[in-house]
């Protein structure tokens, strides 16, 4: 961006790009192809995040008191864009630094802060999130995993599903029902649960979008120390909402989409396809969609940088980001034609993305519901 970025943020982008050049291995594309859940990428993320931490960049947007540098949300956004565009070498650790750490800072006991924040900040711990259940998808009100206090432990029983990264993770940010008689959002709590707790079993669900992407996690009388409770018992809904505010900017999908689009434009030029107005039209439409997602995301970052409360602009940015994914992936398929047939090819990866965009990020229709009610004043859907 020639204009708009503060000089120091623009310089930081250059630093990050230089760093990526330096530390990403030659076969990074092959590694990243298998997705952030894969063993290869999980292993690499510890090295990579360690290097970032050594340079003071991994949690630079955290307060100094917790090992950060109080860097602005803009600088954090620069990092997010470049990481996402290149295939997210931080792997699952983007969750640590984006919202798990901040939730622990806000709700954690001193002991929890001391245990977890330095590890996150140094880049060698992997977390995952345990929200979804077989009977509760976008609708957390149906949460059924029970955690019953028994002496100094909680005894946990239930099943989580669609859990990403869990088999390489050290901890799971686990949402449970601590009051069995409660309903909907009440009586729900968060446990910072070690994945190696006795009674926790993990089973992979083979997925379309990469290895180790989905799992079921079974809790059978799993004992989790009561000291793992984050925030007050029964206040889990507030903890999650607070944490997800930090996620309001979301992943920089447009950055990946724009990168893909640049590559497609290059391919189109090399093959002389730019004399076809259909190709020009679709490249241009896709570029417009990516840029739209970018500016809508920047507005959300801007609001956060100014300390404004979350607004419906978050949902606009998310829907726009999903749209950029879908539009570019479909264009890739159409442009690459039969080449896209090859398994593991660029086109194949884009097919998987095109089909599943909007599902993985939490149903687009929920976002549209929120736009309708919060942004347009329609009845709550």
């Amino acid at each position: 961006m020639e204009f708009g970025w503060a000089d120091e943020d623009a310089r930081h982008r250059d630093e990050i790009l230089g760093f990526l050049d330096e530390v990403l291995p030659g076969d990074w594309e092959a590694i990243s192809k298998h997705g952030p859940g894969s063993d290869q990428q999980a292993a690499f993320s510890r090295t990579f995040c360690g290097e970032m931490a050594a340079r003071g960049w991994l949690t630079q947007h955290w307060p100094e008191a917790f090992g950060g540098r109080d860097a602005s949300p803009w600088r954090h956004a620069v990092v997010g864009e470049e990481m996402w565009a290149i295939g997210e070498p931080r792997g699952a650790q983007y969750m640590n630094v984006n919202w798990i750490g901040p939730a622990i800072m806000h709700f954690g006991s001193d002991a929890q802060k001391a245990e977890h924040l330095p590890r996150i900040s140094s880049g060698d711990v992997l977390w995952c999130q345990g929200f979804s259940e077989p009977e509760a998808g976008s609708d957390l009100a149906g949460l059924r995993t029970l955690a019953i206090r028994d002496g100094d432990d909680y005894v946990v029983n239930g099943t989580k599903i669609w859990t990403s990264y869990v088999d390489n993770a050290d901890f799971i940010f686990l949402l449970v029902r601590t009051d069995p008689d409660s309903r909907r959002h009440k009586g729900v709590s968060v446990l910072l649960c070690p994945v190696d707790s006795p009674g926790v079993e993990v089973r992979e669900i083979p997925s379309v979008v990469g290895a180790r992407y989905f799992h079921e996690v079974f809790f059978s009388d799993a004992r989790v120390p009561a000291s793992c409770l984050l925030g007050p018992e029964g206040e889990g809904w507030n903890v999650v909402n607070y944490a997800l505010q930090y996620e309001r900017v979301g992943a920089a999908r447009y950055a990946r989409a724009a990168r893909t689009l640049d590559r497609l434009a290059e391919i189109a030029r090399e093959r002389g396809l730019l004399s076809d107005p259909t190709v020009v039209e679709r490249l241009a439409e896709a570029r417009g969609v990516c840029e739209a997602a970018r500016v809508l995301t920047y507005r959300v970052i801007d609001e956060r940088a100014k300390g404004l409360p979350p607004s419906p602009h978050t949902q606009l940015a998310r829907v726009a980001g999903t749209r950029s994914d879908t539009v570019v992936a479909n264009l890739a398929l159409d442009l690459l034609g039969a080449e896209a047939f090859e398994y593991g090819s660029y086109g194949d990866a884009n097919f998987r993305l095109a089909m599943t965009a909007g599902v993985a990020v939490g149903a687009t229709e929920v976002q549209l519901n929120l736009i309708a009610s919060r942004f347009l004043g329609l009845p709550k859907l």
Partner: protein, 328 residues
């Protein structure tokens, strides 16, 4: 033909696009065969090569030979079979095989119809099931050509889960009656795609009718129901256009069969892809699993919808119909 075909004459009505009893018997027999011998689990596992046993059995039913002189069927009979095969997501080079039985001569034709020789129809150096194929046909907008591989094909794992191959080819001879062959090919691809899409839409509808979120079945939300309804309409239209193309072809009406085959093909490709997308959305995370109810269909739809000569060629046909021939 080994079907129990009633001898009722077809009803004498214009545009009776419902199957006659003979065609319905074919559709039913194929559906039964698939359910008994090649169910969903078999389909999900049938990645890689063509499953030769099942293929042979299918041929044994007389299905693959329906367009041969001995088969005594027309394109509408093949469409009836293809609708059932598409709905069951039966693997292998189906449209290619029907095409070959239309443009090849005996004894090769009989071997293809009998299932002992597999056909690869492709272009641009990428050949379906290349290593297994005994007959290779190169196809483009206007012609169907006999070719053979100049060197052993390099296997390519495809998006659709099938093992294809790359190889340069030596061109042998243009086959006669390519125009009719292309009509057969496009019509059957359209019938297959529309049936596969419809299968997904029906499965997704059944899921949406029972899966609850926010206290209601998700099919209760128009955001779920309307895209499904719209896809159903467009898939049904594509299937009906394919039947119309077959009717015309069987009546020897060249121009309209060409037009309707192209319209069916264009419609089925787009409607199939949209249905795949919509159904992935309806199934949510389950649809992203490898063994779930969507991906083994959606990946094949995507592959079929780009199979050469793709929908662009059919668009050119449709536009030329508007400008050259009388657009009725």
């Amino acid at each position: 033909m080994s079907f129990d075909v009633s001898s009722d004459p077809p009803v004498d009505l214009p545009f009776d696009l419902a199957f006659d009893p003979g065609q319905q018997a074919i559709a039913d027999a194929v559906a039964r065969f698939c359910a008994d011998r090649f169910d969903d689990d078999a389909v999900k596992q049938s990645t890689g090569a063509v499953p030769r046993d099942a293929w042979q059995e299918l041929a044994g039913l007389g299905v693959l030979g329906v367009l041969t002189p001995e088969g005594e069927g027309g394109l509408l009979e093949a469409v009836a079979a293809m609708e059932a095969l598409g709905r069951a997501v039966f693997p292998g080079p189906l449209a290619a095989t029907f095409l070959a039985t239309r443009v090849l001569a005996d004894p090769e034709r009989s071997r293809v119809a009998g299932g002992s020789v597999l056909v690869s129809v492709g272009s641009a150096g990428l050949w379906p099931f290349a290593e297994q194929a005994g007959v290779v046909l190169e196809i483009d907008d206007e012609s169907v050509r006999r070719v053979h591989f100049a060197s052993a094909p390099t296997p390519v794992d495809t998006l659709g889960g099938e093992t294809w191959g790359r190889a340069p080819v030596v061109r042998d001879a243009d086959l006669p009656d390519a125009a009719a062959g292309l009509v057969v090919y496009r019509t059957l691809l359209a019938a297959q795609l529309a049936a596969m899409g419809r299968r997904l839409v029906d499965d997704a509808s059944a899921h949406a009718a029972v899966r609850k979120q926010f206290g209601r079945p998700i099919g209760d939300f128009q955001a779920v129901a309307h895209p499904l309804a719209d896809c159903a309409m467009r898939l049904d239209a594509a299937a009906t256009l394919a039947r119309a193309a077959a009717c015309y072809r069987d009546a020897g009406a060249d121009a309209p069969s060409r037009r309707y085959a192209a319209a069916a093909h264009v419609s089925a490709c787009q409607a199939g892809l949209d249905a795949a997308h919509v159904c992935h959305q309806v199934f949510g995370a389950v649809g992203i699993t490898l063994e779930g109810p969507v991906f083994h269909v959606s990946r094949r739809i995507r592959q079929l919808a780009s199979t050469a000569p793709g929908p662009d060629a059919s668009r050119r046909v449709l536009t030329s119909c508007m400008n050259g021939e009388a657009a009725q």
